[in-house]
């Protein structure tokens, strides 16, 4: 086992010295790096993990720290999602955005809240099946850069984004629709009737 004594060295030198030793070492070999502070331990650990090496650390008898890096031996992390205990709702989840504001009281606040809501949708574990946008909601898919970007993310994740064509026309936004497709009242009505649940912020 190669030992690198990086005690007394400030970051980034412990990492630089460890990388030099790793470049000389063979697959499966372990490098032991000695350092005198915990931050250096953490920076070495980050580097080793990013390079897919197994890494462990501890304290030495003289009060310093060691980090042991084994080349190319990262134990595979299980990517299995924890099983959810919540029963899956039957039918599709449909989000209805009928205004470019959320709630009533103050429109400036309401607009910020709506943008926050659409962003939060992108952060959920499961995306809705469909987002319907009508009346003032049509502005969210045609005029507001942030919500357009977030709706695109939802679309990429498999969500259908549908905006009312009548509404786009009414607001003069037909040419500006930037995400998803145009829909009509028949589809809006059908989608809502067949939904397992409808979410209206």
């Amino acid at each position: 086992m190669t030992t690198v004594d990086a005690k007394g060295m400030a970051c980034p030198f412990p990492v630089v010295e460890a990388k030099k030793a790793m470049a000389q070492a063979a697959e499966g070999e372990t490098i032991r790096v000695l350092v005198d502070n915990e931050i250096a331990v953490q920076n070495l650990t980050k580097m080793a993990q990013q390079k897919h090496c197994a890494v462990s650390d501890g304290k030495t008898e003289d009060g310093n720290y060691f980090v042991e890096i084994t080349l190319g031996a990262q134990t595979t992390v299980s990517t299995d999602e924890p099983t959810s205990c919540q029963p899956a709702p039957s039918g599709k989840t449909v989000v209805v955005l009928s205004s470019d504001t959320m709630g009533s009281g103050n429109d400036e606040l309401g607009h910020a809240l709506m943008k926050g809501f659409v962003f939060a949708l992108t952060q959920m574990d499961t995306v809705p099946d469909t987002v319907l946008l009508y009346n003032g909601g049509a502005k969210l898919s045609s005029e507001v850069p942030e919500t357009i970007a977030d709706l695109k993310k939802l679309e990429e994740a498999g969500c259908e984004v549908l905006t009312c064509g009548t509404c786009l026309n009414f607001y003069g936004l037909t040419d500006k629709l930037s995400v998803g497709s145009v829909t009509n009242m028949y589809v809006i009505c059908e989608t809502m009737s067949q939904a397992g649940r409808v979410i209206r912020p």
């Binding site: 400030a10 970051c11 980034p12 030198f13 990492v15 630089v16 990388k19 502070n37 931050i39 250096a40 953490q42 920076n43 980050k46 580097m47 990013q50 400036e108 606040l109 607009h111 910020a112 809240l113 943008k115 926050g116 809501f117 962003f119 939060a120 992108t122 952060q123 942030e146 970007a149 993310k153």
Partner: protein, 342 residues
């Protein structure tokens, strides 16, 4: 650079800052000032102290000094001064006087000290302020900076935690100077990366501050030792969160490369530890994380402005010549202080 200067730089600039966790613990035990004219003191994490003299005038006081982050003493003087002066502009003030703070080894070449102080005084002049004295002590290592006094109208103070929901966040300089200076120390920074980083660090925030004066800036801070995320976190209140759009964050060429090569500072890791649980990365990009945590010496201003003014402000800031961007926005309270997304 001659070999004789080589002991000059031991990894300085804002990377030399004590970690935020350590600071909070010590400061929280000190008695609180009670003078009502002290408008901004140590109860917030603000950039400078502000004291009201009359209804129209308050003084802004700040100081900053650190060891060299590069080998050229003249550039170091310029950068240290630009960095120290910055806190005045972060508060929306005007710099008036500055005092030198100097630590210098007795047996070191005095020409080096002369070069440092020349660089510093040039920046004080450019700031429109007067260098009015200073204090020097013999020390084992070089440290330099300024104590600066400025003025501000008491109604126009730009505190750092008064963002409003819906605001856009404008950053006036690119990130990455900490990583590039670290790479430079180990001889791995390209000359053009180094030059761009130095240009950014020697640029006074005065120009960005003055450019932003016609705009409704709700909150402002400067990005220094705690990195973008550390300083953004100081802007956040329990009633709102911030979303950072990774693709819009201005970065110096080479910054990502340096992070990929793990030329990481201790300061960035301290901030990462401090912000554990307060920042959520919705994008899996280790290198990006390191750039967002990277300690900035003489970094840019981070301003929270109404969305309707953000594009115009950004265009004006961009005309000053440095990479800049609308890096995100203030949103209704989410699950943590800051969310970093694509």
């Amino acid at each position: 650079m001659e070999e004789t200067n080589k002991l000059f730089c031991k990894g300085g600039g804002c990377t030399a800052k004590l970690g935020p966790a350590v600071l909070e613990r010590v400061l929280s035990r000190l008695p609180r000032p009670t003078d009502e004219q002290l408008l901004v003191g140590c109860e917030s994490s603000d950039d400078a102290a502000v004291y009201r003299l009359t209804d129209d005038i308050a003084v802004v006081q700040t100081l900053d000094f650190f060891p060299p982050m590069l080998e050229d003493p003249y550039l170091f003087g310029q950068i240290a001064a630009a960095n120290a002066l910055s806190d005045i502009w972060a508060m929306g003030g005007t710099a008036k006087t500055a005092l030198n703070i100097v630590c210098f080894p007795e047996n070191m070449d005095l020409n080096i000290l002369g070069a440092i102080m020349t660089g510093g005084s040039e920046k004080v002049s450019e700031a429109g302020a007067s260098l009015a004295g200073g204090h020097s002590i013999a020390d084992s290592d070089v440290k330099y900076g300024l104590s600066v006094m400025g003025t501000v109208h008491p109604d126009k103070i730009r505190t750092n935690n008064t963002c409003r929901i819906g605001d856009c966040l404008v950053l006036t300089k690119p990130l990455g100077v900490g990583l590039i200076m670290t790479a430079n120390r180990v001889g791995q920074a390209k000359q053009e990366w180094f030059d761009a980083a130095v240009q950014s660090m020697t640029t006074l925030n005065r120009w960005a501050c003055e450019t932003s004066m016609p705009y409704e800036v709700h909150a402002c801070t400067d990005v220094t030792g705690f990195g973008l995320l550390g300083h953004l976190r100081e802007m956040i209140q329990p009633s709102y969160s911030a979303v950072v759009r990774a693709d819009s964050v201005p970065m110096l060429d080479g910054a990502r490369w340096c992070a990929e090569e793990f030329l990481l500072t201790a300061a960035a890791q301290r901030t990462r530890n401090f912000l554990n649980g307060k920042v959520r990365f919705a994008v899996d990009d280790f290198v990006l994380e390191e750039v967002l945590f990277d300690p900035q010496t003489s970094g840019g201003l981070l301003m929270s402005v109404p969305e309707r003014q953000a594009d115009a402000l950004l265009a004006d800031i961009r005309a000053l010549g440095l990479p800049c961007g609308i890096i995100g926005s203030i949103v209704p309270r989410m699950d943590c202080d800051i969310i970093v997304t694509k």
